[in-house]
Symmetry: C2
Subunit: 444 residues, 2 copies
Amino acid sequence: MQDVTRILARRVVESRYEDLPASVLHEASRALLNWCACAIGGSHHETVDRALAAVMPFAGPAQAGVFGRRERMDILSAALINGISSHVLDFDDTQAEAIHPSSPVLPALLALAEWRGFSGAEIAHAFVLGVEVECRIGRSVFPQHYDAGWHITGTAGVFGAAAAAGKLLGLNEQQMAWALGIAATQSAGLREMFGSMCKCLHPGRAAQNGLHAALLAREGFTSSEQGLEAKRGFGQVLSTRFDPAVITAEWGVRYELSSNMYKPFACGLVVHGVIDGCIQLRNEYQIMPGMIERIDLKVAPLVLELTGKTDPRTGLEGKFSVFHAAAAAIVHGAAGEEQFSDSCVQESAVVALRGRIKASVDKTLLWTQAQVSIQLRDGRTLERYVPHPLGSLERPMSDADLEKKFRALTEGILDTTHSNRLRELCWSLTELSDAGAIAKAAVQ
Amino acid sequence: MQDVTRILARRVVESRYEDLPASVLHEASRALLNWCACAIGGSHHETVDRALAAVMPFAGPAQAGVFGRRERMDILSAALINGISSHVLDFDDTQAEAIHPSSPVLPALLALAEWRGFSGAEIAHAFVLGVEVECRIGRSVFPQHYDAGWHITGTAGVFGAAAAAGKLLGLNEQQMAWALGIAATQSAGLREMFGSMCKCLHPGRAAQNGLHAALLAREGFTSSEQGLEAKRGFGQVLSTRFDPAVITAEWGVRYELSSNMYKPFACGLVVHGVIDGCIQLRNEYQIMPGMIERIDLKVAPLVLELTGKTDPRTGLEGKFSVFHAAAAAIVHGAAGEEQFSDSCVQESAVVALRGRIKASVDKTLLWTQAQVSIQLRDGRTLERYVPHPLGSLERPMSDADLEKKFRALTEGILDTTHSNRLRELCWSLTELSDAGAIAKAAVQ
């Protein structure tokens, strides 16, 4: 695989819409609906306000809109902002390899669609390919790359955005190889930023820089043609493991979007098992916080590594505290955006229960799994093992679940007319003659 | 040094202009003059044309100009383009740790100056600090970071741009720590791109992203406050060696700009020893190419690693061929931009001589040194050992040398009036009430 960059470029360029399975195209609509919900739901977060304040004085012509808001700007800036807002709630889609596939790719495509009026089928096709590229490249270096400290949604996402935008822009094989190389040399994002506003800057920059990579390559801006596999290319420099064969294996047979997962809970996937177990026990046994003596959680090492904050002070920090997530799930019976607000993190009942929760590592558990044990004051101990949390591939959210999530996240931001129209556009994506209608329906 | 990011932020914020030595401020003028020469000299390169074509449709308000051209755009886009053009000829300043200090920093500062009218003293101060920050961070991970494949001008340069722009924008300590963190999580650039247009994209993006980091931090966009030193921060993730003590050692005592070097030859520093030795022998013995049987070069391992191309086809590739550099130096007695043009690389006399040049590795040589041995057809063998090439700290270019380089690079792009005015502005930098005059004098 000495020429995997070139082979991948060729696969993307030669891919035909007609060959995509209907199930994959339906998944593209599901992912789009979920992504729109997240982008709109996050669009008025202070992170987005601050990013916009730092971008607007320098933004270009009004080519594309910001989902959930009124601002309009050039497509590169719009890709940045929409990438930020769609990840700010940590509610966007995920893959087993820790990548969030839609947030780096869709902001680039939807901005291009609004600017130049591509069809829904073209957008769906480019989206499927962008997800193929980023997830396959991510998997080629996983888990060592991620373990070393790279935020794979940023580092691999930029390739997805470049490939997707490049497909839409009609790049030839040579240009596509350059676009992948330009993406490689902009690949960035550190896990140290988790818990700060920079975490969602990563998919934003990935979308913006990937889109720019495709635009540069279209103009003949050259890069190495071995950006992935060279001795000093992405795979060798950013990881101790690099398996290029993964990038092209089963191309056109197995689709990455078919492994896409959507979150019922507004935080990192690593906490979902714990939340799910807590809510199950709470509802089945009608547990009130006052009944609880203590809660013992058993989780995989990664869970405590990512979400080990015992004393979060803000809603954002709460997303990185498995203790808060469990306490809020018991007190409220839910783990939506509201449960990761500053006020919920500071709520006395939640704080009190949080102090009675212990977590320990069980290396036999996968990072999506959890074992919840609730010791009640009446002497009973309730146990729940969660092998597959809600939202996993084994227990996926239904289309109706996704619509419910969409309504909850867009409520109060879009009026019902816009919200309904946007939902219908997502479901009918492949039928749209002008997919620019999506972004136009998504603004206030 | 568990809090080096915070300490560095404090040092930058608390730095006072009054404390800067006059010699360092003079060096700032020298670096500025050299940078302007490179940016203007490179401004009509096809790399810049292509980058501009991919940027202009999306650029924002006419806040800043492109050096050597007529286009005007927002400061973020201008920083990108001026960063590209100033590195495209590989003629900008260098430090012993392989970083090019000015190209990531000055494009951000000069765009800000043009937009908001900062004084020359403010620009000089911010510039000195930006170079401190990027070079010290670069040194903290050198050489392992560079050896692994990172283009340190991009990866460290983004910190320099962030700190310099942040100083100019008046960030407080907290904001400066965020700006450094936002820079850390955008740190990127692969050495695999050497020989392609992406090499000069690196300082361009570093300037743009560093400037944006400062603008984001000013709006309260948060990052980790341990972006440099954390387990999953820059130092640990992007290098096998990280020595944080280097970053603050001798702060305010030893200045990085005092170790700045300027190139007399239009290619990477690693080839300068060979070029210098060839030109010395050529001139002293009045050697014509036809007199030469063969040339043997002895160089450090890095030289062949970076510039080992035996059969370059383009001017750009010629910069990565020590064989071409030596042949052109003998044939033309020079190694300016003209000697790294497509036509010179394809010139029959140069091609013929190139084929008679051999290079071997001598591990006792430093990467700046060279041993040139020319075997003449008349039986004589001429030898020259170059311990310190022209342009090194031991044999620096004089102010007059720099003016000559400036004239050569700006000729045909700026008229004499503009060119003279710009040169005077550079020398009187610290006296300027409005340093925006620099960019205004530098356009066509």
